[in-house]
């Protein structure tokens, strides 16, 4: 697996807070970079956003696609279904 960094960045607000927490929980090698009004999470090679972890944190159902509302930017190839949103780099 590539070790180049993938990242995902959200607007800093109360809606994105549990999403960021979920990502950090599910991705042990992830790091956080806080910028004005924006929070960026980086990970080597692969990062997964899991609906179930977010739902645990907010105590209600969550549609994973609704991360679009606060999403700012990302890097990596995307693989998406209802349960997981994955960013990854592939190697030659």
């Amino acid at each position: 697996m590539s070790r180049d960094k993938v990242f995902i960045a959200f607007q800093t607000n109360e809606d994105s807070r549990p999403i960021v927490e979920a990502i950090l929980e599910d991705n042990p090698e992830a790091t956080v970079d806080e910028q004005p009004a924006m929070v960026k999470i980086l990970a080597p090679g692969r990062l997964v956003v899991k609906r179930s972890t977010i739902e645990d944190k907010i105590g209600r159902d969550f549609v994973l696609q609704s991360i679009h509302i606060n999403l700012i930017s990302l890097a990596g190839n995307i693989s998406e279904d209802e349960d997981e949103f994955v960013l990854a780099w592939h190697q030659a």
């Binding site: 590539s2 180049d4 960094k5 993938v6 960045a9 607007q11 910028q35 004005p36 009004a37 924006m38 696609q65 609704s66 679009h68 509302i69 606060n70 999403l71 700012i72 930017s73 990302l74 890097a75 190839n77 995307i78 998406e80 279904d81 209802e82 780099w89 592939h90 190697q91 030659a92």
Partner: protein, 509 residues
């Protein structure tokens, strides 16, 4: 028995596929006349995979939610006189350049995606491009709304569309987008979605919108982050189209490499406007252009091209030149803006002492040696009651149309200039990158509208003086243009702040 709900992938497949057909009343090549002439070979359009599986109902829902949030903030900004909270009114030069240079480009991008949204033979590609066409129109509109409040109080925001087609410095973004719009559909998507919106977008939005946040500009910050989430879809469209095309046929690899080389270079030259914004127009600094280039090209770009290496794609030609120039181009560009601002629709000024110190720190290898002495000389002239202006039109590059302030990477005291003769005419370029682009398509680029040449030929409404030129741009000479510290904007800013100019004393927010 309850019907099992469709999964995201199945729902997307059903709602966006199988609705097209092989035409019988006209041959497919007549219905889609533009998607083969570039030489790109597509064996199977069904292999197109949408990175985001947004159906129209999801699109409307999330976009509407984003608009509700955005316009609530824009209303609040307007109602609460948000313009009072920016660090100081010098910052607005950055927004004027945005409104004049980028907002019309968003509209051009919208038109371009409308075109490719019709021209691609594959339904998946058409759907993705049509959604992007909507997004780009949204960006043009939301930018106009975000900046409209500033238009009530400051100059330079009032005639962006008109100016964009005429002003010499705005032909940089104008020619960029028109080059893309007049290319084939595969080149268009590679140029905009991939090169501009994937490889290079973060260099515009991330540092600059953070710059807006650091300088108290709530409207632009909010607009920027709201638009950037649309950009995340655009980025992935760009990456997907490149991967799809490369996987379809090995003959596509050299064509795509050429597009990537060309559009990286054109995009990089366009971003000189962003670099100079970051280093010189933000009273409170975020990071330097050199730092941003280090993160968003040298690190991020490396990761991207490591990924694409499996297709036989190499990093873009001349990217090492772009990296080598990172400690020079912003200082060179600001010299042009400082000395030519009477012929523009924005203001320029000499950096304050705290900014010169910040630049010396950020550009340790170049600023004190090559550029701080130049600004010290301009400052000496100002102290003696003068003001240095160029009073000449610049030579601009035939391809990128940036004034040729660039220097050789191994000699910052030597102008970087290249020439190419074609059909008895001599064309001038800032670099090998731009000359290569011309050399590949001379019939296209010999037709470029070069503003300094057109002005001299009398085609700028016959203008022979700066006030006449300003009038032709629908600007007021001296009000929308020129030195900041003698401008109406500055006077108004001080009046809004009890006679104080609020210049920060340090670069930190």
């Amino acid at each position: 028995m309850a019907q099992k709900k469709l999964g995201l992938k199945e729902k997307y497949q059903l709602m966006t596929r199988g609705l097209d057909w092989e035409t019988t009343y006209q041959p497919m090549d007549k219905v889609f006349p533009y998607d083969k002439y570039e030489g790109i070979k597509i064996k199977d359009w069904d292999k197109w995979e949408d990175p985001f599986r947004l159906t129209m109902d999801a699109y409307w829902k999330y976009q509407a939610e984003k608009e509700r949030k955005l316009y609530a903030i824009l209303d609040s900004f307007s109602q609460n006189n948000g313009q009072l909270n920016i660090s100081d009114a010098r910052y607005l030069t950055a927004l004027k350049i945005w409104m004049q240079g980028i907002t019309p480009a968003e509209y051009n991008s919208h038109r371009g995606f409308c075109m490719v949204g019709r021209q691609f033979r594959g339904a998946g590609a058409r759907v993705a491009c049509q959604m992007q066409a909507l997004d780009e129109l949204r960006h043009a509109q939301t930018q106009i709304h975000a900046f409209s409040h500033y238009n009530k109080h400051f100059g330079g925001f009032h005639q962006a569309m008109h100016m964009r087609d005429r002003a010499w410095y705005l032909s940089i973004p104008k020619s960029f987008f028109e080059d893309a719009m007049t290319a084939g559909p595969f080149e268009f998507v590679t140029s905009i979605s991939f090169a501009f919106e994937y490889v290079l977008t973060n260099l515009l939005f991330m540092p600059f919108v953070s710059g807006a946040a650091y300088n108290g500009d709530m409207a632009t910050t909010t607009f920027g982050f709201s638009a950037q989430s649309d950009e995340s879809r655009h980025m992935t469209l760009g990456l997907e189209v490149v991967k799809f095309v490369l996987e379809q046929h090995e003959d596509n690899v050299p064509i795509m490499q050429r597009y990537i080389d060309k559009w990286f270079w054109r995009g990089y030259r366009l971003l000189a406007l962003v670099g100079v914004m970051m280093d010189y127009m933000l009273p409170r600094k975020v990071m330097s252009w050199a730092e941003a280039w280090g993160i968003y090209w040298e690190e991020n770009g490396t990761a991207l091209f490591n990924d694409l290496a499996r297709y036989g794609i190499k990093p873009p030609k001349y990217h090492e030149i772009a990296t080598a120039e990172k400690n020079h181009i912003t200082h060179q560009a600001w010299t042009v803006f400082y000395t030519a601002c009477p012929a523009t629709a924005f203001h320029a000024w000499l950096p304050q002492e705290y900014e010169l110190d910040w630049l010396s720190e950020k550009y340790g290898s170049t600023f004190d040696r090559y550029y701080r002495p130049r600004f010290a000389e301009f400052a000496r002239i100002e102290r003696e009651g003068g003001r240095f202006y160029t009073n000449r039109l610049p030579l601009v590059c035939q391809t990128c149309q940036v004034p040729d302030f660039f220097t050789e990477v191994d000699n910052p005291m030597k102008q970087s200039i290249r020439q190419y003769e074609w059909q008895g005419m001599k064309y001038n370029f800032c670099s090998d990158g731009c000359r290569d682009i011309f050399a590949h398509e001379p019939e296209k680029f010999c037709q470029a509208y070069i503003p300094p040449q057109q002005i001299y030929q009398g085609n700028a409404g016959g203008a022979r003086t700066l006030p006449e030129y300003a009038a032709w741009l629908k600007c007021e000479f001296g009000k929308d243009s020129g030195e900041y510290y003698t401008s109406e904007d500055y006077a108004r800013w001080k009046a809004m702040h009890g006679g104080n100019d609020t210049t920060p004393s340090s670069a930190a927010a």
